[in-house]
């Protein structure tokens, strides 16, 4: 089984403005796994995801994502992972399809690929010409996911994907994530929604005090 690790963190310390948000985190994620991070607020889940996305360097320890060392090749890692954080990273004045096209174009995606990404998130028809500003929270989240698909992200890092969505929006999101899982996506999901995200995950880990333990 230990053939294709996508994420390998060993004793990683990561510092945010003097605060050690990660204090010796160790985690391995294999390709095709969907790992659920659970833990209280401030446990270090967001920092763990941002570290894996190449947004901040490991202060200590070894962090390897997609076979690349994060203390050296963060730029290369960034173009291959997709982070969906608390904010969606969308340009609210642009339309759905303009957003997806923009992010797709950063990796040179063809118009077919972009159409396919919109289609997979159910955004192809009515919504594609609507400015993001006018969308509901759930539709924005779907647009952001479509951007990840268009960007051909190999590893999805989802930070509280259900937060701020109503029940219909959550159901929508679950459908979409299940489809992605079926398509073989690798994901790390931080969530408080254990019943929803738990059903989706192939494995759960606990995060606390900037460290990671396998859930029992």
């Amino acid at each position: 089984m230990e053939t294709d690790p996508v994420v390998q963190l060993v004793d990683v310390v990561a510092v945010l403005d003097r605060f050690p948000a990660l204090a010796g985190a160790t985690l391995t994620v294999q390709r095709g796994e969907i790992v659920l991070l659970r833990g209280p607020n401030g446990a270090g889940k967001t920092t763990l995801l941002r570290l894996c996305a190449g947004l901040l360097p490991p202060t200590r320890g070894s962090a390897i994502v997609l076979g690349l060392d994060l203390s050296v090749h963060r730029q290369a890692v960034r173009s291959r992972v997709g982070l969906l954080g608390h904010s969606n990273g969308l340009y609210t004045d642009l339309t759905v399809s303009e957003n997806v096209s923009f992010w797709g174009a950063t990796v040179g995606a063809s118009s077919d690929e972009i159409a396919a990404a919109l289609d997979r998130m159910g955004l192809a028809a009515r919504l594609s010409g609507v400015p993001v500003r006018k969308l509901s929270a759930g539709q924005r989240r779907r647009t952001a996911l479509a951007c990840l698909i268009a960007r051909r992200a190999e590893l999805w890092l989802l930070d509280e994907p259900h937060a701020g969505l109503d029940v219909a929006g959550r159901d929508e999101l679950d459908t979409v994530l299940r489809a992605a899982r079926a398509a073989g996506a690798t994901m790390i999901v931080a969530s408080h929604e254990l019943d929803r995200a738990g059903a989706l995950a192939t494995r759960m880990v606990d995060v606390a005090g900037g460290q990671v333990r396998s859930a029992t």
């Binding site: 403005d17 003097r18 605060f19 050690p20 005090g209 900037g210 460290q211 333990r213």
Partner: protein
């Protein structure tokens, strides 16, 4: 390390025998310099007592420029991979702080001297204007140093800003020079100063340079202590953070 020496180093935390010798030499030099500048040297024929301000003005200006050159060089040294060390960053910061202080003194003494010799505090002469821009630019640099982040984030960001300022200085200088080509006559170059006056100026430059070295050494060590304290805080914070984990 015995208790008494620890006491000693706490009392003089950033001092060493070398800096102490330097400090004493500076103090003696300063006393001498003030005696010459204020009392022993004669009044100038044209500038009268105003010339005594020059003894402060010229050395401070020289030091401010020296300080900014040191900042630029240490910033470049930090950015170069071979010599990457936070010591360079701290040297750059310490030198810039001292430079800003001396540049402030330069502007102040310059305008007082100008009031005496030209009757106005400020002229839009190219040298004065460039100096004022430089002063504001390095205030900006110090503000960038205070933006926070880890030590290396601070170091990289401020080193880049310091080098951009180096890019900016000649552009500002040339444009201002071109804009106001009128020069006030240089007081030193036109040979009106007597031997004793020149000597006072010379003493001033030497003493101020010694003072600069002393100030930068101490300030740099103070910054190192600050950083070390942050690092200790980090060790402590990591341990504390690990305690938080209840699985």
């Amino acid at each position: 390390m015995t208790a008494s020496t620890t006491q000693e180093t706490v009392r003089r935390p950033t001092g060493t025998p070398l800096t102490r010798a330097l400090g004493i030499a500076t103090l003696i030099g300063l006393a001498w310099f003030v005696a010459f500048g204020l009392f022993l040297s004669p009044d100038d024929v044209v500038q009268k007592k105003g010339v005594r301000i020059l003894y402060l003005h010229v050395p401070s200006a020289w030091l401010a420029y020296l300080a900014f050159i040191v900042t630029a060089i240490s910033s470049a040294a930090y950015l170069s991979k071979r010599t990457r060390s936070l010591t360079w960053d701290r040297l750059a910061g310490a030198s810039a702080e001292v430079g800003v202080l001396f540049m402030g003194i330069t502007l102040l003494t310059g305008s007082l001297w100008g009031r005496i010799s030209w009757g106005v505090y400020w002229v839009w002469d190219s040298r004065v204007t460039t100096t004022a821009f430089l002063f504001v630019t390095y205030l900006g640099y110090l503000a960038v140093r205070g933006l926070g982040g880890t030590h290396h984030q601070r170091a990289r960001r401020s080193a880049v800003v310091a080098l951009l300022s180096v890019l900016e200085i000649p552009l500002v200088h040339f444009s201002v020079e071109w804009w106001r080509p009128l020069h006030q006559q240089e007081s030193i170059a036109n040979g009106k100063l007597s031997g004793l006056m020149l000597f006072s100026l010379f003493v001033g430059v030497i003493v101020f340079t010694l003072m600069y070295v002393w100030l930068v050494l101490h300030r740099q060590r103070l910054l190192a202590m600050q950083d070390a304290l942050d690092d200790h805080g980090l060790e402590f914070a990591i341990a504390e953070r690990r305690e938080e984990a209840v699985f």
